[in-house]
Amino acid sequence: MKIKNNLENIKTLFLTLLIALLTCLNLFSHIKNVGNITNVIAAQAKIPPVGYAYYGLKKYLKELNIRQAGFITDRISANAGEDVVTMSEYQSAQYALSPTLLDYFNASNHQFMILKLFNPKNESRMLKESQAESIKKLDNGIILIKQKGNK
C-alpha cells in the first residue's frame, strides 16, 4: 500500500514538474516576443481599415440603390474560389461595401459590377469582355461598371 502511494506521489510530482517546465518555456517564448508585439501594435496604427480602398464606392452604391452587384477581377487563377489574393480582395470589398451584396460566383448575372484590376492595362479588355461601361473609377484599379443592355 505504501509503495503504491509512493508511486502515485512520484507520478504526480513528475506531472507537476513537467507542466511547470513547459509553462516556464512557453512564458519565456512570450517574453522574447513582447518587443516584436509592441512594434507591431505601433505599426498597426498606420494600416487602413479592411477594404478601405473600396470606401469611395459606398456613396455611388447608395445613390444608385444598388443592393446586389457582381465582383470580378483580371487575375487568372486555376481555382479562383480558393485563390487567397482574389478572395482577400473580394471579402475586403464585401466587408467595406456591406450591405450591398457582392456576387463573385455569378458576377455577370448583375447589372452593376465591381471590377478590381491588378494590372491597370487590362481595363479595356475587361470592360470589353464584360460588355460594360465604367461608372466610377477609384485609385488602386477599382471600378464600378455597368453592363450594357438590360439585366
Binding site: 502515485e8 504526480t12 506531472l15 513547459l22 512570450h30 498597426q44 450591405p99
Partner: protein
C-alpha cells in the same frame, strides 16, 4: 469605457439571473461571477435575435430599451424577493484580487496580441464581424445575409455579441470585437481556476490557468476574434455545471447547465455537435441509474436547453435560403469508404503527430494531456468524470471522422481547420487533466 459598457450590462443581466436562481441562504460563488458573463451574453444575443425577427430589422433603440428595462426589472425583482447579494466578508473579492494579481501580466499580453490584429484574423472580419456589420447596415434586407455566404448558417452568438457592443457604443468600431474576445478569454481562465479551486488546492488551480494561458496557440487564437474561444468557454461552463448538478442536485445549476448547452449550440457548428453529444450522454447516463444517488434533475436541464435551441434551429434550418455560390459544381458528397482508406488514415495520423502533438505552438499541451490521462485512468470512476471523458472522446472521434470523409483536399482541410477545432476542447481538457491528476493528492 464605452466599448466595455455592453459587456458590463451583459454581465449584470447574467449576474442578476444567477442571483435570482440562488437560494437565500447560499451566497454567490466566484464561479457564478464567471458564469454570469456567458449567461449575460447569451440572454442579450437571444433578445437581439428575436427582436430582429419581431421588427424584421435591427432597431438599436428598441434593443437598448428592452435590455435596460430587463436590467431594471431583474434588479427590482431581486430586491423584492430579497435574494442574496455578495456579502462584504465574502471570499469573492479576495479570489478576484488574487486572480487579477496573478494573471495581470498574461492578460496584458493577450490584450497586446489582440491589438496587434485590430480586425482579427481573416475569418473574424470576413465572417463573424461581417455578419454583425451586415445586420446593422441592412435594415429590412437583413435576410440577404443568407444569400451572401453559406457560412451565414453558422450560429450567431458571437456576431450578435459584437452587434450588441456596436449598438451600445452607437457605432461600428474595432474595439468591441477585441473587448469581447478578451472578455471570453478572461472568463474562461477565471472559470477554469475558480472551478478547480473548489476541488483542488489553490496553487494547483492557478498553475492550470497559467499553463493554459502560456500556450502560444491558445493565447494567440483566443485573441483572433474567432468563435472558438466562445465555444471553448461554453463547453467548459456546461461541463462544470453538469458536474455541479451531480454534486449538489441543485435546480439552479441544472437549469444553468441546460441554458449553457443551448448556448453551446448557438456558438458555432462544432458547438451544435457538442450540444448534441452532451445531451445524448446525459440521457444515457440518466437511464443508467445503477449508481444510486447519481440521478439528476434532467428535465430542468432539458427545459433550459429548449429555451435556446429554437434560435439555433431557425438560423441553421428555417431562415437560410439559396446563397450565391450554391449552383457551383462543388463536390460536397462525403464517402464513408474514406474512413477505411489506409492512406488517408496515415496522412491524418502523421498530421496529428507533427502538426498537433509535436507542434511548438501548442507548447507541449497535448503531450501533458496524453500522459495525464494515460496515468490516471483509474481515477475516472464517477459518472461526472465519465461524462467529461466521453464528451471529449466522442467529439474527437466525430471530428476525425469528419476530416477522413471530407470532400475537400485532406491536407488543406487539416491545415485550415484541425487545430482550430481542437482548440474548443482545450479549456475543458485542462480542467479535466488537472482535476484527474491532482484530486485526492496531498503531495503538492
Amino acid at each position: 469605457m464605452i466599448y466595455s459598457l455592453s459587456s458590463i450590462i451583459s454581465f449584470y443581466v447574467g449576474y442578476q439571473i444567477i442571483a435570482l436562481l440562488s437560494n437565500k441562504n447560499k451566497s454567490i460563488s466566484t464561479v457564478d461571477i464567471f458564469l454570469s458573463i456567458g449567461l449575460g451574453f447569451l440572454i442579450i444575443s437571444q433578445t437581439i435575435f428575436y427582436s430582429i425577427l419581431l421588427f424584421d430589422e435591427i432597431k438599436p433603440f428598441y434593443i437598448l430599451l428592452i435590455n435596460i428595462v430587463a436590467v431594471i426589472l431583474l434588479f427590482m425583482l431581486r430586491i423584492h424577493l430579497n435574494k442574496i447579494k455578495i456579502a462584504k466578508d465574502s471570499s469573492i473579492y479576495k479570489d478576484l484580487i488574487r486572480l487579477t494579481v496573478v494573471f495581470y501580466p498574461l492578460i496584458m499580453l493577450s490584450i497586446m496580441l489582440a491589438l496587434c490584429r485590430p480586425f482579427g484574423d481573416w475569418d473574424a472580419w470576413s465572417f463573424w464581424n461581417l455578419r454583425a456589420n451586415f445586420l446593422l447596415r441592412s435594415g429590412h434586407h437583413w435576410k440577404n445575409i443568407f444569400i451572401l455566404t453559406e457560412q451565414s448558417k453558422h450560429p450567431w452568438l458571437l456576431s450578435l455579441s459584437v452587434l450588441w457592443g456596436w449598438i451600445v457604443a452607437g457605432k461600428e468600431n474595432n474595439m468591441t470585437p477585441i473587448v469581447t474576445s478578451i472578455l471570453f478569454l478572461t472568463s474562461t481562465i477565471g472559470l477554469l481556476v475558480c472551478s478547480l479551486t473548489e476541488q483542488l488546492k489553490r496553487n494547483i488551480s492557478f498553475l492550470a490557468g497559467i499553463f493554459l494561458l502560456s500556450i502560444p496557440f491558445f493565447i494567440t487564437h483566443s485573441t483572433s476574434q474567432y468563435s472558438d474561444i466562445v465555444a471553448g468557454y461554453y463547453l467548459l461552463a456546461t461541463l462544470v455545471l453538469i458536474k455541479k448538478t451531480y454534486e449538489t442536485k441543485s435546480r439552479k445549476y441544472s437549469l444553468l447547465a441546460g441554458l449553457f448547452i443551448g448556448a453551446l449550440s448557438f456558438t458555432k457548428d462544432e458547438g451544435v455537435a457538442l450540444a448534441f453529444i452532451i445531451t445524448v450522454i446525459l440521457v444515457l447516463s440518466n437511464m443508467n441509474k445503477c449508481a444510486k444517488g447519481e440521478k439528476i434533475p434532467i428535465s430542468t436541464i432539458f427545459f433550459g436547453t429548449l429555451l435556446i435551441i429554437p434560435s439555433t434551429v431557425l438560423v441553421k434550418f428555417i431562415l437560410p435560403f439559396k446563397f450565391f455560390g450554391e449552383n457551383l459544381p462543388i463536390e460536397k458528397s462525403i464517402s464513408i469508404a474514406h474512413v477505411l482508406d489506409v492512406n488517408r488514415c496515415a496522412i491524418l495520423g502523421k498530421f496529428i503527430l507533427n502538426n498537433v502533438i509535436l507542434n511548438p505552438a501548442w507548447g507541449g499541451f497535448w503531450i501533458v494531456c496524453i500522459i495525464a490521462i494515460a496515468t490516471n485512468t483509474k481515477q475516472i470512476n464517477t459518472t461526472k468524470d465519465k461524462i467529461f471523458l466521453s464528451t471529449i472522446v466522442i467529439f474527437i472521434s466525430v471530428i476525425l471522422f469528419r476530416f477522413l470523409t471530407t470532400a475537400e483536399p485532406l491536407i488543406w482541410h487539416l491545415n485550415v481547420a484541425l487545430n482550430r477545432v481542437l482548440f474548443i476542447l482545450v479549456p475543458t481538457l485542462t480542467y479535466f487533466i488537472f482535476y484527474l491528476s491532482f484530486k485526492n493528492k496531498e503531495i503538492i
